[in-house]
């Protein structure tokens, strides 16, 4: 019973989704209504001349057959040329306007999608995978554009072309028309069978190709194991088998594909055959003029393309609407973190932070209960607070809530006494700088990365920030200094270099609140000490939150908060906490022993 109800409900959701999708689509189309209107008008003109052309040839031929020659024939021929020119111009105009409109919509839709993605909160990116979003932004957008361009053009012209051409043929000779078009259903049947066979063999080729490239990718990624265990011959043999397999799949597919040109040529050729045999007989019987024969010949050729397009047209529209629905799904997600109507007019922050009984749970289907519970914490402006705790205890989550990366309930987090949800996002994010754990850099120059949060890249500013983050000495080693392209498509920086670049990026903002999220974990002890020394100057006049897994990092903090399983379990200064026999003291003992070894060995080895 409930399954049926679910099904009905699911059907209803799909139907309402479709309605919403069409509403959005209509909005885009209406924004470009002028182009579409012009394009469709041009299409109508085109179809008119399209149907007229064979008739003009017929008239010229009839004159020719009647013995007209020389300048007397030029009038009829001039008409042929004129209709041709008019037809071509109308076609040009209709294609350009409709395709341009489709491109315009693609442009607008892509801009809107990008803007929307930038507005969506982090919790959205928790549940949506990048690959999925990419496929919507790339493949689905293309499908929508095809529907609005070629698809729409074909919808506007194909039925008219077929109707007008067939109408003209019927007008000339209904019986011959039937003969010429009689093989059409057979042809459509063959083409469909053919298409199906081609689809399945193509699929098989894709599978073979995927197998082959997976093996390739894996062998290259695991090349050290391949070499260490002398597996080259085995992998070579396997690769040989896979390429052979792919070859066979290809050949199987080609055996069908190679027939494609023959099939496409079949339709006009069968029509020609019928025209010649039946039409020729009619001509001899005096029932069809030579001119009409020529008109039929031209109609037969011109009908081929529209007939091919019919199936394709439906396919385009089907795929286009399905894709638009997938894009619509993303656009329909409400950007839950945005400036609110009851926003306060706050232009800058001083740096006081207060958590009032804050609890937090990650959204999404696989949430694992509360990530933070009952957090009560007041951080005075200008103080340095360390947050420590085991992996997964909620340290990073706590820090991420301050710049409002995730939604918190009203009345649980205050900055300078104002509810974080009512502070303008612009103020919030330019006054708070975070150095995230993964120190993601973009594919742009190092200077642009450091100046990422600034309105523009100012060299003096970049230099100062880089210096304070101890990045300067690394820059010297880069091929083009600060202009070196970094990020995924640029020079590979070491983990430590990336972290220092991310630190410089944060410092360039000159923030009131600085959040270091386990920032220096990939830096060796020597550099960490140097950075920390430089940082103490930077800390001046800012509220600093240091999230750390190493206890040594937060030793000098004004306040250390220890978090375990989402709750604050201890708080105090280093000496107090180390003396008490709690979690902090235990972490400190464990890590000291570990660090001794690392630090000691690094010392002997001379660092890196």
């Amino acid at each position: 019973m409930s399954a049926v109800a679910d099904f009905v409900q699911a059907r209803e959701t799909i139907a309402s989704n479709r309605r919403a999708m069409f509403r959005r689509l209509r909005g885009y189309v209406l924004r470009n209504w002028r182009s579409y209107l012009l394009g469709i008008a041009a299409t109508v003109v085109y179809v008119g001349f399209f149907a007229l052309f064979p008739k003009t040839v017929q008239w010229a031929i009839e004159a020719l057959i009647a013995g007209v020659r020389g300048p007397d024939l030029w009038g009829a021929c001039g008409l042929v040329a004129a209709v041709t020119l008019a037809r071509a111009s109308a076609r040009f105009f209709s294609r350009v306007t409709i395709f341009n409109a489709a491109r315009e919509i693609e442009y607008q839709l892509r801009n809107d999608l990008f803007a929307h993605l930038q507005r969506l909160p982090q919790s959205f990116y928790f549940t949506w995978r990048t690959g999925d979003l990419m496929s919507r932004a790339v493949n689905d957008l293309t499908a929508v554009r095809l529907m609005l361009g070629v698809g729409l053009l074909q919808v506007a012209q194909t039925p008219f072309m077929i109707v007008s051409a067939v109408g003209m043929m019927l007008w000339i000779d209904p019986e011959l028309t039937v003969w010429v078009l009689a093989p059409l259903p057979i042809f459509i049947g063959i083409a469909r069978l053919f298409g199906r066979a081609m689809h399945s063999t193509n699929l098989a080729v894709q599978v073979g190709l995927a197998d082959m490239s997976n093996h390739l990718q894996e062998s290259v990624s695991g090349i050290s194991v391949v070499k260490a265990y002398a597996m080259e011959e085995t992998t070579d043999r396997k690769f040989g088998e896979l390429t052979q397999n792919l070859y066979e799949r290809w050949m199987h597919a080609v055996r069908i594909q190679a027939g494609m040109p023959a099939i496409t040529g079949l339709l006009p050729n069968i029509g020609m055959l019928m025209l010649f045999v039946v039409g020729g007989g009619k001509m001899m019987a005096g029932e069809l003029s030579v001119g009409e024969f020529f008109a039929f010949f031209l109609f037969n050729i011109e009908l081929t393309m529209p007939l091919f397009f019919i199936g394709w047209m439906f396919n385009l529209i089907q795929r286009g609407t399905a894709s638009m629905q997938r894009i619509d799904e993303v656009l329909n997600v409400e950007p839950s973190i945005a400036d609110r109507p009851d926003m306060l007019d706050v232009r800058e922050l001083h740096g006081e932070i207060e958590f009032k009984g804050l609890s937090f749970e990650y959204p999404g289907p696989d949430a694992r209960g509360a990530a933070l519970s009952d957090i009560e914490l007041r951080i005075p402006a200008g103080s340095v607070v360390g947050i420590v705790g085991p992996v997964g205890s909620g340290k990073t989550t706590l820090a991420s809530l301050i710049p409002r990366l995730y939604e918190v309930e009203d009345g649980s987090l205050f900055l300078d006494g104002n509810d974080v949800n009512r502070i303008p996002l612009g103020t919030l994010r330019t006054s708070i700088a975070v150095v995230p754990q993964d120190s993601f850099l973009f594919s742009m120059s190092l200077a642009d990365n450091v100046a990422y949060g600034l309105p523009e890249t100012d060299p003096a500013h970049v230099l100062a920030a880089a210096d304070r983050a101890q990045l300067g000495k690394d820059v010297v080693e880069l091929p083009e200094g600060y202009e070196t392209l970094v990020g995924e498509r640029g020079v590979m920086l070491s983990g430590g270099q990336r972290q220092r670049a991310a630190l410089a990026r944060a410092l360039a903002l000159d923030p009131k609140i600085l959040i270091l999220d386990d920032t220096l974990s990939a830096v060796d002890a020597e550099t960490e000490a140097a950075i920390q020394e430089g940082l103490s100057a930077v800390f001046e006049g800012r509220t600093v939150i240091v999230v750390a897994s190493r206890v040594s990092t937060v030793r000098d903090a004004d306040l250390i908060v220890v978090i375990d399983e989402g709750r604050i379990v201890e708080r105090g200064r280093h000496d107090e906490l180390a003396a008490s026999n709690g979690l902090y003291a235990r972490l400190a003992r464990d890590q000291d022993a570990e660090k001794t070894r690392e630090g000691g060995i690094a010392a002997v080895g001379g660092g890196e």
Binding site: A88, F92, E106, I223, Y229, R429, A593, G599, G600
Partner: protein, 640 residues
């Protein structure tokens, strides 16, 4: 066709790379080298060219028949009836076709000729089918062979190469680059030639049928052809721009989505949006340009057909018949087809050439580490010869990954058979390099490494790596079952051997708990196994392969306490009775080895047993003491 399996990132990159460097369509130096792959298929290519001749004749057959039918049978009847006044042409009679074109008595002539049309079309379609089949199979065979060659070469390259060459790019070489090259066989070179042959053929036939009309027709052809070719190339150009731009757009979206947290934290949305809209706008503009030329092209083709029809009719002389006009209209339609596809074939050639260049660059990369030229005839590992006893000697070994940045400086040591030694030192001190050199994944720059007194460069790599077992820090698991991953293609290791190895290192406990035991499939490189389990698998792997010398790079990744005990046990089992070299990241695990070598900045600074080194009161002793004094470590770390 692109590899659907590769991640979008790398395919976007590949697209960018491939679109941004397109060179000449025909490069003679490259073509000369291409010959080695073409030469096995010359026969087939000649066959394709030869087939073009009967294809040409069968293609014009139906049109020829309609012309003959109109002029010889239909028009005379109409003339007899007085509907039109024209005498049939006889100058085009081909005596040898006469018997064929005449139906047996009593058979309606149009049906007979219709039958011949069907025959002509079937012949043409059949030949076309065969030609496609031959060309594609040639392309695919060439592709398969080339792919194997590229793959085999990739595997021969020394490990240092892979440090600088991204995996995605290598995959592109062997997939889409090879495909582009193969496309040249199936859609490029040969078709280009046959198309030109066809066009010449069409022109010749038209001139033969009616030189005067043909002359007039070919007055219009050059400007039309020029316009078509120019527009096509303009479309290509604009289209290429759109491809580069869309690749950039998609890369930007991908990067922004990946780094969205940073984007939002630094309130960069507006500036990003502006930059994105500029890029998106450039993409749109490139498209509008492409649409313009593309539509113009369509219209030129349209105009061409009409203008030629008008011209042919208007220039008709008294002798021109309906059949002639029909023939001209139809054949001119066919004449323009290859012209329209010309630019497509050109771009196939172009991308084939740039792919070829990249493939050759890869194939020309020196593998650097090669097996000795003369057959391996030493005593080691030979049937009946002495087996490796397991003595490892480093003699004044120097090594650098990059020129002159020495990672190892003048390192010498000797490990006696069955001895266990450990290497300690900071990251970058050169510990891991010792393993890479001993297994000859990298080549020493100076000095030499001996295995039982034989320079390892004189031992075939397969032999060497069979004798020296490696347990690497990063445990790489391949797609396949657990058993496959333990066997790694060695057919001489039986199931029993695998199980024995797994149970010796106590990996069998967790394996047996898996739903399919040893037949459990490993997914996504084994991410479904914990670090400790992966370690155990790699131990079992090394044990099953039964090496005499064992090199072990201790894992640094944290392992839970319970598994840690298993791992420690596994290490002991593994080292039993073997010469073992351990790269230690934790001092506590190596106290009982025979000798500890301390590396600093690529040099051996101390060596001896744990106790000796402690007594020596040097670097090691200091390190060891530091373990039990947090204060000291902090002082040391900060004081430097």
């Amino acid at each position: 066709m692109s590899a659907s399996a590769s991640p979008p990132k790398s395919s976007l990159d590949a697209l960018l790379e491939e679109e941004e460097d397109l060179g000449k369509a025909i490069d003679r130096a490259l073509l000369t080298r291409l010959w080695q792959w073409i030469s096995p298929y010359t026969g087939r290519m000649v066959l394709t060219l030869v087939m073009a001749v009967p294809m040409f004749f069968s293609q014009i057959t139906p049109t020829w028949i309609v012309m003959t039918g109109l002029d010889q049978h239909i028009v005379p009847v109409l003339a007899d009836q007085g509907i039109i006044e024209q005498s049939p042409r006889s100058d085009l009679d081909l005596p040898f076709l006469e018997p064929l074109l005449t139906p047996p008595s009593g058979f309606p002539v149009l049906w007979w000729l219709g039958g011949l049309m069907v025959f002509g079309y079937v012949l043409f379609a059949g030949l076309q089918y065969l030609q496609t089949l031959v060309m594609v199979s040639t392309g695919q065979s060439a592709m398969r062979d080339l792919r194997r060659e590229v793959f085999a070469h990739i595997q021969k390259l020394h490990l240092g190469f892979f440090d600088t060459y991204p995996v995605g790019r290598l995959v592109t070489r062997a997939t889409s680059d090879v495909e582009h090259l193969a496309e040249m066989f199936s859609a490029g070179l040969v078709l280009l030639i046959t198309d030109l042959m066809k066009m010449v053929g069409f022109a010749a036939v038209l001139f033969w049928v009616d030189p005067y009309l043909a002359m007039w027709t070919f007055v219009v052809v050059p400007p039309l052809a020029l316009a078509m070719v120019v527009f096509r190339f303009k479309v290509r150009e604009a289209f290429r721009a759109t491809r580069v731009l869309i690749a950039r757009i998609n890369a930007t979206i991908q990067e922004t989505v990946t780094g969205m947290k940073v984007v939002q934290l630094f309130a960069r949305e507006e500036r990003n949006q502006r930059e994105f809209e500029r890029l998106n706008g450039a993409h749109k503009d490139a498209w509008l340009k492409s649409i313009w030329y593309d539509s113009a092209l369509f219209s030129v083709v349209d105009v061409g057909a009409g203008v030629i029809a008008a011209l042919v009719i208007s220039q008709a002389t008294e002798s021109v018949t309906a059949g002639t006009i029909f023939f001209f209209l139809r054949i001119m339609g066919m004449f323009f087809m290859p012209l329209r596809d010309l630019s497509q074939k050109y771009s196939v050639m172009q991308s084939a050439m740039s792919s070829l260049e990249r493939i050759l660059q890869l194939l020309d990369t020196d593998p650097e580490i090669q097996d000795p030229p003369e057959p391996w005839a030493r005593h080691v590992g030979q049937p009946g010869g002495t087996r490796v006893r397991g003595e490892v000697t480093f003699e004044n070994v120097w090594f650098a990954y990059n020129d002159e940045e020495w990672v190892l400086r003048d390192v010498s040591f000797r490990v006696a058979p069955g001895e266990k030694v450990a290497f300690v030192g900071a990251t970058g001190a050169g510990k891991t390099t010792i393993i890479n050199l001993l297994t000859r994944l990298y080549e020493v720059k100076r000095g030499r490494i001996l295995l039982d007194g034989v320079d390892i460069r004189e031992i075939p790599q397969r032999e060497l790596r069979g004798r020296v077992g490696m347990v690497l820090q990063d445990v790489f698991l391949f797609t396949g079952t657990i058993e496959d991953n333990l066997r790694l293609g060695r057919s001489d290791i039986d199931e029993e051997g695998i199980r024995r190895a797994a149970s010796a290192v106590e990996a069998d406990r967790f394996i047996n708990n898996l739903p399919h035991g040893y037949a459990t499939e490993i997914h996504e490189r084994g991410t479904n196994f914990s670090a400790g389990q992966r370690q155990l698998l790699s131990f079992a792997r090394a044990l099953a392969h039964g090496a005499d010398v064992l090199v072990l790079d201790e894992a640094t990744s944290s392992i839970d306490t319970e598994t840690e005990a298993l791992v420690q046990h596994g290490i002991h089992v593994l080292m039993e009775g073997k010469t073992s070299l351990v790269i230690a990241h934790r001092l506590s695990t190596i106290e009982d080895v025979d000798c500890i070598y301390v590396l600093a900045k690529g040099q051996l600074v101390e060596h001896g047993s744990h106790r000796e080194l402690l007594a020596h009161a040097g670097v090691y002793a200091r390190l060891h003491a530091l373990q039990y004094s947090g204060e000291g470590a902090a002082a040391l770390a900060a004081g430097r």
